[in-house]
């Protein structure tokens, strides 16, 4: 069954890929002005995070090898292990790889402070290395903000973006005569109206598990026009932060299923798949299983909504990954070609069409031909595009992101079991403040 699904998807993706490239032979997919064969014979070591994004890269890897004559040894390991491996190797000064895939929202500042990535700004401007269409301006702003260091130099290419949207169950909304919420107030009202504990129906689900739950709170916080860290100072005790935490607490205690304190995205997803959940707030990349009849009871019933408007701002929490060349690599140009290929329109179209991820490049998202080949419902593409317009970074760009998420994650989990928002945030802020100060001083 599964293999049949993949085959169908392959076919669609392949067909659409050809569509993006024009009719066979009429227009080459990759610009001939770039001397792709220049580094033929070199061997690259590539370190990727195991995900649908890297699966797409690995699947079409042979195309890159044929086009460039560069041999690629690619390794994809699960996120946490990959982060450990890359950080340990990079800090040793002699990483075993030339190309590295990084999660911007967790690792950006760490990589910047470590000076681990090569400055590829020069390559991007070199017409013998870079296609004319591949310019800084083609990447979404949030992506560029991530890819550039504080001094404005470019150290990676934005690869895939993840916006937070709300998946909603159209049937449940219809049964209660409700519309998709436009504001945070409506969100709470809808969530509570949809909840019927005796019937096992719950209006809202999101991550409650420590660490994983922090983006839920920060996404709400963005609606109050506030970031968790502004100008290097924690904003986590401000009235806005407390209000957002209170909102989180209310949603997660009155409208969410029991046990939500231990839910990560996977548990939230499986709950939503059963058709008993009204709304699920999470990343846009978790959509494909919802439309898979083998896994989902809600095929065709899922609405994809842009984050409702907060009291002070309309914002969608944004996360993303990039791909860059290590500063220690001796094959920087070849490695750069690989990065460029990975974020190319052809690969971006494949990513989008399979629902595996969303490219940062505007030219891909705006291409009608690409959009028509997308296997996900049109509303999903609209949600992606709409979120892009209101995208804001949802996690602070600091080194100890994981500690930040752990510390505030515990506070949020405590809220679900009855804690007081102001007191919990105060405690977490006090615990995290010295960590942040130390990391910026070092």
């Amino acid at each position: 069954m599964t293999s049949r699904t993949i085959t169908r998807r392959d076919f669609l993706a392949g067909a659409a890929g050809l569509g993006a490239a024009g009719v066979i032979g009429a227009r080459p997919a990759f610009s001939a002005e770039v001397d792709w064969k220049k580094f033929s014979g070199q061997t690259l070591e590539v370190n990727l995070v195991k995900s649908p994004r890297s699966d797409t890269i690995l699947k079409y890897l042979s195309e890159f090898e044929e086009m460039t004559g560069i041999k690629v040894n690619a390794e994809a390991t699960p996120e946490q292990q990959q982060r450990q491996k890359t950080v340990i190797e990079l800090s040793s000064g002699k990483p075993s790889f030339d190309v590295v895939h990084l999660s911007y929202h967790v690792q950006k500042r760490q990589f910047e402070k470590g000076g681990w990535l090569a400055d590829i700004g020069g390559f991007l401007k070199d017409p013998s290395l870079t296609e004319a269409a591949n310019t800084e301006g083609d990447f979404a702003d949030a992506g560029l903000a991530y890819a550039k260091n504080a001094d404005g130099t470019l150290h990676s290419l934005p690869f895939s973006v993840d916006y937070w949207i709300i998946y909603w169950n159209k049937d449940l909304f219809q049964a209660k005569g409700l519309d998709y919420p436009a504001t945070f107030d409506d969100l709470v009202k809808a969530a509570e109206a949809l909840t019927d504990k005796d019937a096992g129906t719950f209006g809202f689900v999101a991550r409650g598990l420590k660490n994983a739950n922090v983006p839920v709170w920060t996404s709400l916080l963005l609606g109050f026009d506030k970031y968790t860290v502004e100008n290097g100072t924690l904003q986590t005790e401000t009235p806005e932060a407390v209000e957002a935490a209170a909102l989180y607490k209310r949603l997660m205690t009155t409208s969410a299923p029991p046990g939500v304190a231990g839910f990560n995205w996977a548990e939230s997803q499986s709950a939503f798949l059963q058709g008993k959940i009204g709304m699920w707030l999470d990343g846009v990349g978790f959509a494909p299983p919802l439309e898979d009849p083998n896994k989902s009871r809600v095929v065709g019933k899922v609405g994809y909504g842009i984050m409702p408007k907060g009291p002070k701002a309309h914002a969608s929490g944004t996360f993303g990954d990039g791909i860059g060349v290590t500063a220690a690599s001796e094959k920087k140009e070849a490695a750069y070609l690989f990065c460029q290929w990975a974020v190319s329109p052809v690969m971006g179209a494949r990513l989008l069409q399979a629902g595996a991820g969303v490219p940062f490049r505007k030219s891909v998202l705006g291409d009608e031909k690409v959009r028509s080949g997308v296997t996900m419902p049109g509303q999903w593409v609209d949600a992606v595009a709409g979120s892009g317009d209101i995208s804001r970074l949802a996690l602070p760009v600091i080194v100890p992101v994981t500690e930040f998420r752990d510390t505030f994650g515990v506070a949020l989990t405590n809220l679900i079991s009855g804690g007081d928002p102001a007191a919990e945030l105060k405690k977490a802020t006090e615990a995290f403040k010295p960590v942040l100060e130390k990391s910026e001083k070092a």
């Binding site: 450990q84 470590g114 709950a271 994981t402 752990d406 989990t413 679900i416």
Partner: protein
């Protein structure tokens, strides 16, 4: 050896020098045990976060540990988790051993079935149990609902998470205790029972006054093995809760792992590793002393 002969001019027949033969083992021990140890101690004296420069800080990491509530909390979790996951398998395993010691049809086959959990991979078990514990979709709550007990939150609630994790640990490791105790039961002599029967002892008296004291050394061995295992337990907790909800199931191992590999705080985590090692050694010594004491008093009593 030729060198010794030359140096001394006369052969040292009585004290031949065998150090060359010891050397390979010595090198291995130095490389894989002593060096990592020394290196960890050295690291624990440094302020060292990966990606930023390292500086020597002496005992600062240990002082920080002393004042770190999360560390003390995780120590408490570790001890609570260990206690439960030693006692539960001991009771159930001894019970199972008594049952499987009796003669009944299909005994060998059933013993084989009973031992199976022990053979499974902890992470695979953890994933299966996580699904079974799911508050809405899990089979456990469904089974409870059949007998009218309201749904539980299992590992998804801070107050029930450790007992739930221990249930998994118990399910997996009861067979080990059973095997050890069963071995003990098989070696028991028949005659004390015969004389007890003549004296008119009932089943409980035979168990309490004969069987239990005689298998006590075996139970003690099982307890020591279980304590060491439970203290080190990492895989099941990490795969099921990663220390959550919140930090409700964060044992020292999990905290240590997070500090080293998620926060990249190498110096601090090394200090934690050293302290944890000291605790494990201390607990093992206590258990060993207890074992010695028990056997000694037993011998004296006879």
């Amino acid at each position: 050896m030729a060198a010794t002969v030359q140096a001394g001019r006369r052969p040292l027949r009585l004290a031949p020098n065998y150090w060359l033969f010891v050397l390979p083992a010595l090198i291995v021990v130095l490389a894989v045990i002593v060096f990592p140890w020394a290196f960890t101690i050295w690291m624990s004296g440094n302020e060292w976060t990966l990606g930023s420069p390292r500086s020597f800080v002496g005992f600062a990491n240990y002082l920080r540990l002393w004042a770190d509530p999360r560390f003390w909390e995780s120590l408490g979790h570790t001890l609570w988790y260990t206690l439960l996951s030693v006692v539960m398998p001991l009771i159930l395993g001894t019970l199972a051993a008594l049952i499987f010691d009796a003669r009944f049809p299909w005994r060998g086959f059933l013993r084989g079935i009973f031992v199976m959990p022990m053979m499974a991979t902890p992470v695979a078990i953890a994933l299966v149990w996580t699904m079974m514990f799911h508050p809405q979709l899990g089979v456990l709550n469904y089974l409870l609902s059949l007998v009218g007990i309201p749904a539980q939150e299992w590992i998804f609630n801070p107050s029930t998470v450790i007992p739930s994790l221990v249930a998994v640990e118990t399910w997996q490791w009861t067979p080990l205790v059973m095997l050890i105790v069963l071995g003990g039961l098989a070696s028991l002599p028949r005659d004390p029972y015969e004389s007890a029967e003549i004296d008119g002892a009932n089943g409980w008296q035979k168990f309490y006054h004969l069987t239990l004291p005689m298998i006590a050394p075996f139970i003690m061995v099982a307890a020591i093995i279980r304590s060491i295992d439970a203290l080190k337990s990492f895989d099941i907790i990490y795969a099921m809760t990663q220390g959550g909800p919140g930090t409700a199931s964060e044992t020292i191992n999990i905290y240590l792992y997070n500090t080293a590999f998620a926060y990249y705080d190498i110096g601090y985590s090394s200090a934690m590793a050293i302290i944890f090692f000291v605790i494990i050694v201390a607990l093992s010594l206590i258990l060993l002393m207890l074992r010695q004491r028990l056997q000694w008093s037993e011998a004296e009593g006879k």
